[in-house]
Symmetry: C2
């Protein structure tokens, strides 16, 4: 069998996802957003330059991942905040996969960081590849259907 060849352009879902999420810093910004951060100064704390953050926030709004809205703290002037849309929250699966990969390769990392939990029940979540019968797979391939 010939190795499977993928379309390299946006006709591949993986390539499309990387087009939206693949730029440096973008997924770390979304990690912070999923953890409840909303403000420019909060996102800056991950250590990226101001101009880069501005560009990333514009791009994420264009893709409908974040939405900008005015934010007013008591006694302070109105600022913008950037909130995940429902569409944007679907990035969770990508962050959970990176988390799983990172933990597997660096089991020495301190566990104090974070985990994923259901928003309603608060139950901890794990990411699994399952078939239609519910069996968990630990050895998947990419195949043409």
């Amino acid at each position: 069998m010939d190795p499977l060849s993928f379309p390299v352009n946006a006709a591949c879902p993986i390539a499309h996802a990387l087009d939206v999420l693949g730029e440096k810093w973008t997924l770390l910004i979304l990690r912070e957003a999923l953890a409840g951060k909303t403000r420019f100064a909060e996102f800056r704390e991950i250590g990226l330059p101001r101009e880069v953050l501005s560009q990333r926030l514009v791009r994420l709004q264009e893709h409908g991942i974040l939405v900008k809205r005015p934010y007013k703290q008591a006694g302070a002037r109105v600022r913008d905040e950037y909130v995940l849309t429902d569409r944007g929250r679907t990035v969770t699966v990508v962050l959970a996969a990176l988390y799983a990969f990172g933990r597997r390769h660096r089991p020495d990392l301190p566990l104090r960081t974070a985990e994923f939990a259901d928003r309603v029940s608060g139950n901890a979540l794990t990411l699994e590849l399952r078939d239609a019968d519910g069996r968990i797979s630990d050895s998947a391939d990419l195949v043409r259907r």
Copy 2:
């Protein structure tokens, strides 16, 4: 509740995963590897410059994701091929997550591309966030544990 703050350095599993996988082209190279491609010329077909591919292959070997071995076709001279290690195959979950994200945001993309299937049974696989009772979550947050 204060928004959760993550360590931005390698102490965060997500940041560590991005350190290994986050450079441009790396995940597309691994997409091809997971689909059975092994040779330099095959990876070149995704459209990246020669020098960039060389750098990425070196990096992926340093991280134990790919291993280089000699490859000989009948009548041709010996060349190198680059094969996913067991450690490298754990990138599947990241590619499956990007695939799920990409399909969700671009349902118009032709389905001819590819899907994930179990290597042994051949059954199609889907990626799910589940809690300990097996309930699927569609609304996860990142929380400190």
